[in-house]
Amino acid sequence: MIQNLPWLFLLLPLAVAAIDWLFFKKCACCAAALSILSALGTFGLCIAYLTGLCTGTPDVYTWMPIATEGMPSLSLGLLMDPLAMRMMLVVTGIGLLVHIFSLGYMKGDTSNHSRYFAGLSIFMFSMTMIVLADNLAMTFIGWEMVGFSSYLLIGHWFNKESAADAAKKAFITNRVGDFGFLIGILLTMGVFGTLSFSEMGTGTEAIPTAVLTATVLCLFCGAIGKSAQFPLHVWLPDAMEGPTPVSALIHAATMVAAGVYMMVRLQVSMGEGAFTETACLVIAGVGAITAVLAALMAVQQDDIKRVLAYSTLSQLGYMIMAVGLLAGEAAMFHLYTHAWFKALLFLGAGAIIVRCHHEQDIWKMGGLGNRMPITTVCFLMGTFALIAIPGFSGFFSKELILDAALEKCPFFFWVGAGVAALTTFYMARLCIITFCGSARAHGAEHAKDGGFTMSMPLLLLAVMAVISGFGFVADYLVPFEGFHAHGFELGLPFYVSMGALVVGLLLAFVIYGCGKRSKDPLSGNFISKSLRERLYIDKFYDKGIIGILQECGARTIEFADSAIIRGLFAQGAAWFTGKIGMLLSWIQGGSLRAYSLIIGIGVIFVIFLLAYTFPSL
């Protein structure tokens, strides 16, 4: 019995989501309290398992037996290894803080809070499913469920057209990746003969390289969609239409990191041998492209959440690059530190947005440093971690990735260094414009720190953003088996990243001064314009691919509708029936004698049949 306790990880949020949805539709407070309690419960459970209070692996249940010989049955089981449990800590920990922060953030919002908290709970459920799944089929279920809950939460303010569109965009873009993921799962089933993570990875040598490459790349498609890698990155910035705590939890800390987690999980269970050279190159390449493009686009964004969103993209690119360089350890370390400080940044941004009366344009803020000291300090902590100032958590993890890159492939090292400089630049720009100078709009003039429910999560996250990189925390919490923080050495990576940091900071200060400007001095030229237009990738998708597809689809449907359904079936049938009716209507002449005539003919015919054709009758 006790070994089945971990199922609570799944059941608690699911039950709470159901209860919120079904019974507490009108009682937002109850719903919120219940959701927070469930997050607290799972967090406590997670701590209990991490500290060894509880142990044991839960039973595996067969879910769908497959009759075919040699094919594995689909089972439901939980994998409770350190990788999963420490990831669970990140998920439940940030989840809990976001739940609490949401209380403050959603105060005064008129939408249905029960729906919001139910969405958060269902997200916790599905994310837990991904993290604890012991086979790919279960991962896929969680995968789809997070997509669904992300859809719900992005579209929380569904009255706003942009939010509804963003929700759809996120969902549909993810479908593209999920399609590849599903093929990858089926390939895995065929290639390895199992979907279970613990049984994968045997007999990898016997499998042809091309097949392995295809399998891994198909599975990577899922990660591309979920972790918003190029070319499917377009949904993440738009997903910022959702409530900011949701952005912090789903679109910065956990769900988007699920792709990285899944890839690392595969790397661990399939063995690094399964990641062929081609596959690694593609993965690392995609990660690097995403990192660079997203960092470039972040430079010219004016929306505070969009800057952070592109920054998230760029950091996810970093992690994927690390996965491609077979440095799963570094990827997970960065995932872990990034989760804390990016959640912090988003929650900080959320606090600012709320206090500036839902103003997201940084050019309408300014001088917030004096008026919102707690938020500012916390936000700066997060920024320092993100731009990797030595001593903050991001520094250690980024260093680890750069180390790995230098070791495996120097090209990616220099890409990473460039991205680091860009990161420093756009984050410094963001902080200067937001916190320095004076208020540029009315909303920012009276901003002040949020209440307890908003400050407490920020402070806790700020602490984690600072200390989580050090060995005494990281060794126990980084979701990777046998992780040891290396500290850092004075080597090429250190000098280069320091250089990038200095260059970025200097550039930002030179260009933006002390935040006195009211307009971006870089704007106006072609490069800025194309960066603001997100390098026209979204436009290309809209006008090019979606437009053409819609046009083709519309034409096909139009043809099917007008020619086949309306022309042939509806009108054709009507015409045919009408003609037949006209042909037959002379029989129904209304004349009694005509009827009797027909009866007579019929009788003759029947007698003919009975007496002459079938004499035996």
Partner: protein
């Protein structure tokens, strides 16, 4: 000899029945039609007598030639129906009707003659001369074929078969008989209901 006479009488009444039936169809005046129908029914009853179904024949006369005919006449008189227009104006329809009826009659005749042994009956005129040959039940290989089997000799005082018919009717078909009487009742009620004057309001 008796059988031969019965045969001749059958053909005589059959001819009368057919001719008067023609009269029903052909006459333009409904009253004439009704009178022709009376003759036709009476001769039909005679044909039934020829077959030894005396009770049915009597019923035929009473119900058809009596009650039904009077009813028809009554309605014709009451409604003051005019004669139809001349036959010429409805010639195409008449031709169609005659053709169909002719085909029907032809088919029935053919079917009757196709019955095994159907044509084995002797010519009645010849039977007058040699009645022994005729009365003997010859050549009936099948129940459908040949002359009708002779009736069993019964007490001459009772009408042949009436008692047996009554027994069958009131034992085996008792329920059907009762239901039939309900049908008649329903018919009566229906006729009364239909015959009422419908108020205009």
């Amino acid at each position: 000899m008796e059988a031969a006479i019965s045969s001749i009488l059958f053909y005589l009444f059959a001819a009368i029945a057919v001719l008067s039936a023609f009269g029903v169809v052909a006459s333009r005046n409904p009253v004439t039609s009704a009178m022709c129908m009376a003759v036709s029914f009476a001769s039909t009853a005679a044909v039934l007598f020829c077959m030894g179904a005396q009770f049915l024949g009597i019923v035929q006369i009473i119900v058809y030639a009596g009650a039904i005919l009077v009813l028809f006449l009554f309605v014709v008189m009451m409604l003051d129906v005019k004669s139809e227009e001349s036959t010429l104006s409805r010639l195409p329809r008449a031709i169609v009707g005659v053709v169909i009826a002719g085909i029907f009659a032809g088919m029935v005749t053919k079917a009757a003659l196709l019955l095994p042994g159907a044509t084995e009956g002797k010519c009645p005129v010849a039977a007058l001369c040699c009645d022994e040959a005729c009365t003997t039940d010859t050549g009936a290989t099948d129940k459908f074929g040949g002359p009708l089997p002779a009736l069993k000799e019964t007490d001459t005082k009772e009408i042949s078969g009436t008692k047996a018919l009554g027994e069958t009717l009131f034992t085996q078909y008792n329920i059907a008989f009762v239901i039939l009487s309900f049908a008649l009742l329903a018919g009566t009620v229906g006729a009364v209901a239909l015959g009422r004057k419908i108020r205009k309001d």
